[in-house]
Symmetry: D2
Subunit: 441 residues, 4 copies
């Protein structure tokens, strides 16, 4: 966890304090269930909640005990006993450490997923707002980085919206994957604990009982969880790279928000760097880095080995904290993104109207010109524009004017017909349809 | 694709012949839709189906044309025209190459997913059969590779069943992810094609229309697909490694099937290597290797760049063909796995009953012996067993006998009480519950 | 292996024919050594070379035998006997299959490394030529995609040269890593084979003896080899992405070579897509995908398990063939790259000279203007230029003219002093130094 | 960074304090060079060393300043000025932030490499000691997890020694890769700084000047560095897994050191878990996780983008700290590993001498028995042993006795000849040769 890429709410999920609080809840709920089954006194279960529920666990004290006992759960239980008193002997009856550890990890991942889903919701709201704002803000669409045909900036936002809407659904599924509880003993046979305890604890914590565990919850669940974070991170990267491209000096169709007084901009006003989205590109790599170790964690030996544990100490906090930060940062970028419609038009115009060459070609053939001749006519005018662009900053030759001046073209098409092919609305006629599909409105 | 790790049905999905057949279907369905919209003659659409539907496309001929045109879709259309005749000019009207290529890829991945799901179904059937067969075949459960408490071999199979049942659900979701169709033109605006064409083609091919495409179907879908294959491969690895462990010479609780006449076994009968499951371990790595490039493919530039294309030429066939092969091989291994209950008992007995030491400890304290004394009593008998094991092949000392001989133990527990703690049924009492959870029966 | 991304020489290394030829050489050299040690008759060793050396091994025949024997090396030896006759019984004496398989893999990887190093040499030659050609072709340097200060196109090529020169050294080291030979028997103890046989075979094949093998050559060597290919692939990606950026419509400072007659360019002359470098971006991902499985192959169980074998059947050919193709394609791209110095100047000029603002700022402070005032003066002129750019295609305001018109600026700096700060040569003064460092000339 | 997997010396390299101290040294050395070139007063350079050299930089104060300036290097320089006074204006003249940041990162990685190399040296010493100690401690060699032929425990250690000796060489090469210095300005042209400054700073810090940088040091160097760590981590994993296998209950040929009084062992003495090596297996995954992001960092845009920066904030400390910890832990494990020669013999004997079946087979054929008959004879005796093992804990039948009892066998071989084939020394005859190769003694 790198503090500068961490937000407090997600970080708190992974604090020692939170962990011990969840451990307490698991133990206390388990004791409730044991009391209901008559295994421990009901009074004891009550006492545990009363005294432990208000206790402020002391992380340093627990660490101190652990240095002696060499066992984290025992250290916690020893500390808990300092609050609860003699009834603490009824805590943890029949449980295995992993019952507590693994169920706690589920709770943490589930809470992390809750935050990530909320993050995506905020991002979706920003994307939707910007999409609608720029529904008909025309800009050039690019394939291979090369001008293709017009799109709108709103369509770009709609595309991102649809992508993150899918990411949301994936996160919901990922949350479902890891929201299970195991209180099943040393090898998962419930030899020393009644399965009804697991059912009770699961329900109390908003989890499902793991159908069959083996001291641990099977790690294919976690692999799926982290793989999903990797996909979401890749979508973050995609939008970040789009913005970085749009902010390039030569393109400059959009810019990360830059407050007027922000230092360093005064003498070199053009030097506004897309540092937030560059940063997001890197953070995406960091989140994705969790995927392979999570996949490697699946094949534990026999009923369990503990190789996954150290991996999860890193990737549990790192991947969720980093993705939470990245999503929030991306939301801020989208929300405040400076959009430059004038420059979008200017960029499109740089090629002097060449983006319409295909439509002219088609119009000529539909007007009865042979395919070969149509090509020749379009080509000779297009090449003039292109040559001019190719040797300077912007084309100084205008495709429309050239076409209007070309007698062979004019023999086939009227000025109105030619001008009509330069109509940008032609490209926008289905924008509403697409928006209806994406936003369902 | 490595022939020895490929099965014909999955391989066929990725053949040139299949690809061209799918291309034809996309084009023919699109022409149908265009005919219905009055853009092309209905008669032409009919002719295309009649003449193209029965045509045997010649891959070499298409390659030959492509060498001239340098464009695969144009090469195909040229070849198609050789069958269809003049009406072929109504094919591909308003479509972009990517409309055909990306939708074809969706169809291929969907079919691949269908096969993988069927593979998992076969594996689930084998696991269920073996689980029920060995529901109460006791073996030692191991944590950290060390004997812990008894489980059953059926429970191991049930665990794998539950895991692959989750994998099945993930594959169904992955199939849903990539089952979309895009017929939306050069930058996804439907500038030259009616969105209803896309809807028609999608329906005809069992796909959904992509809500917003940008010449290409967004690659987060494919990333999720391949990430899911990576998780399934990791589950394959887990079960493969379990079997490899069980087949180790010292363990030998199960063995990959070995036909009596199989070469090389005669003079060294012990040298039966778990080569199938070792192979599966490697194949899992191969399938997982597709995950990272698929994640890196998401962030295409602007409306599209073509960097994903070469990646998908490798991972599309490789990951699906390899996983299909791996699942089938694993099914065969499970189905015919030789299981040795006698050796399971023998292994458990190697430690002379030490696995029951915890229960004795508990019984002593419950009988009023102080925790400290109980420890001492258990320990002094346990250590005799352990020392004997530690210095030889198997323990020659029996924990039960030692306990029965120990007057201090006997002062607290009767012979019957002691023997009762060695009852394996104690550990099996919830097997039915777990089976009910997993198999829902 | 995807034929379209494969070149014949590298592909041949991985053919069955080559493999069997190498197997023969290993066996024949081993027999020579055994003959020298008096273990087998010298005459037999001679016969094997004579009859086997000219034999054309029949892959189909060997496959046929393997279907019966279920063992590839035995199948080959059986086929070899068909050429060699009775003396073939002296072949493979004391060897284990892995001795042949692993040593063969070393030979193949070494040859692959030879080709890759030659590929890099060709790329270096192209880079050096282009670097020198454009040593002083000025273009804007960009950090964060934003104009920074001038560089030259030759410097970009020099940077790539230095990077691939490092890659060359890495490939040489990687070749060294895997160039070892193991003829050490079932568990590497030379129980049934004299270590001198290994020494002889190693020398004959240009390999070193593996100091300690365990039936197999340790896989950390191969991991290092494939990790190195991953680094080289990433350098390919870097240069590919540089070219893609330079070819973007708005930038267009360089273009992949496009033959005048190349189809599709006529009507849309601007639609020249950087498909080769986009393809290289994807191929880099493919090569990198070999790294993780190669790392996972290291931890074989005990003296060996065979999990690495299937992995290597994929990544051995795939990673080397793909990287070979990528390096050759990149060399072609660099060699024939169309470079547009006029557009480089035009792009730099788009910001109306703003790239020199820092130098003016410094000159003002050196002329005694306070830091604060200097900022204010530069800023008010810079902002005019920027505003103009920000709202259109190119700046219509010129920074130099604005400065010359500004009385406060002129009070501190003469026209000559101001003009001097716009001198591009200022930025080129150490180009020779850098070239000397890189090209050592 | 996870405290429990971190050691102080490596952690200190990545502290804020260390970073600022290195920044200071870079700045002070650069100022020295500038003074020597007459750009700044020599007196000032002296003052900077005097006042800054003894200063205790206040991280909180720098953070406080950074919150205002939004720039880390400026914040540091501001703080430095608080110590140095007016002469601080001569610091950082002509430098770019990246000159400081990237060179600092080189220093940190170089120091990290120094520690890792020292770690490997300690590991090598432990391996060598254990190798020599157990040079002739016979144990069974296993391929595929199945008994093959005898090796010695010393050979296992020698193999690991050779592997880590290679790792050492790789780390030395990796250190060389990243030990470069860049003081070259905003786009690497030395426009505002003399190249001799870079040469001086490089020398003073034990680095080489980067031949051509572009504001940043090229990231292929760092990719190679982290890829190397990934390979070393995989070797750690290999040895860790070997030990985990040897400690399995059924095998128990070695055990991680367990202090007699260590808690939890008393009542369940067999439950000594190989938690250190399991942990190492996980840590290897963590270190390897740095490889892919490091490879993805290579392709920065144009002269630089800053996407690598966030990645390196994670993987710089995480990969080096974790690997340092892992190597040290592994050294401890090897150093104190409990080795059980008696159990090694017992395990080998479990198969009643079957490991010698191949030698008997060979002896029979050499004694003139036909290959077919020899097989039959060996097989009928071997199968008795195997059947007995297959149905119980250890074989109760002894291969040697059976052979001696078999009249057909005895017709071909004398008792002495048969017994001779059971001689373990046969397998050890080249142990010295291998040791000489590995340890060069």
């Amino acid at each position: 966890m790198i503090p500068r890429y961490a937000r407090p709410e997600m970080t708190a999920i992974w604090s020692q304090e939170t962990k011990f609080r969840i451990w307490f809840e698991i133990e206390a709920h388990a004791t409730d269930a044991l009391a209901a089954l008559g295994v421990v006194p009901k009074e004891a279960a009550k006492t545990i909640w009363e005294k432990g529920g208000t206790a402020r666990f002391d992380v340093d004290r627990i660490d101190e005990i652990e240095r002696v006992t060499k066992h984290d759960v025992i250290a916690f239980l020893t500390h808990l006993a300092e609050f609860v008193g003699p009834d603490s002997r009824f805590v943890h009856q029949g449980l295995t450490s992993s019952d507590v550890l693994d169920t706690c990890f589920s709770v943490q991942l589930k809470r992390a997923a809750d935050l990530l889903i909320a993050d995506v919701d905020a991002l979706l709201a920003a994307l939707k707002r910007r999409a609608k704002e720029h529904k008909r803000t025309v800009c050039i669409g690019r394939s291979h980085g090369i001008h293709a045909e017009p799109v709108t900036f709103g369509l770009k936002m709609a595309e991102a919206y649809a992508e993150f809407d899918r990411c949301r659904a994936r996160l919901v599924a990922a949350r479902e994957e890891i929201a299970t509880c195991a209180i099943s003993g040393a090898v998962g046979t419930f030899a020393n604990i009644d399965p009804r305890v697991e059912i009770h604890v699961a329900e109390a914590l908003g989890l499902r009982p793991e159908p069959v565990s083996t001291q641990v919850i099977p790690r294919d669940r976690h692999a799926m969880f982290f793989a999903t974070l990797g996909v979401v991170a890749s979508s973050v990267e995609r939008l970040a790279i789009e913005i970085r491209h749009l902010q390039r000096t030569e393109v400059l169709e959009a810019e990360e928000y830059f407050s007027p007084g922000q230092k360093g901009s005064s003498a070199m006003p053009h030097k506004r760097n897309p540092v937030l989205t560059e940063n997001l590109t890197g953070l995406a790599r960091v989140v994705r880095a969790a995927v392979t170790p999570a996949l490697e964690d699946v094949a534990l030996w026999h009923e369990r080995d503990i190789s996954h544990s150290s991996v999860e100490r890193y990737i549990g906090p790192d991947a969720t904290i980093t993705l939470d930060f990245a999503l929030a940062r991306l939301t801020g970028v989208v929300d405040k993104l400076l959009v430059y419609p004038e420059r979008m038009v200017a960029n499109m115009d740089r090629l002097g109207g060449l983006v319409h060459s295909q439509r002219i070609l088609l119009a000529l053939t539909q007007a009865g010109v042979s395919r070969e001749d149509a090509y020749r006519l379009v080509q000779r005018n297009a090449m003039k524009v292109w040559e001019s662009y190719h040797h300077g900053g912007s084309s100084t030759v205008d495709f429309l004017s050239e076409l209007l001046k070309d007698p062979e073209v004019r023999a086939a098409l009227s000025e109105e017909e030619i001008r009509d092919k330069f109509d940008l609305d032609y490209h926008l006629k289905h924008v509403e349809t697409i928006f209806a599909r994406v936003f369902g409105e």
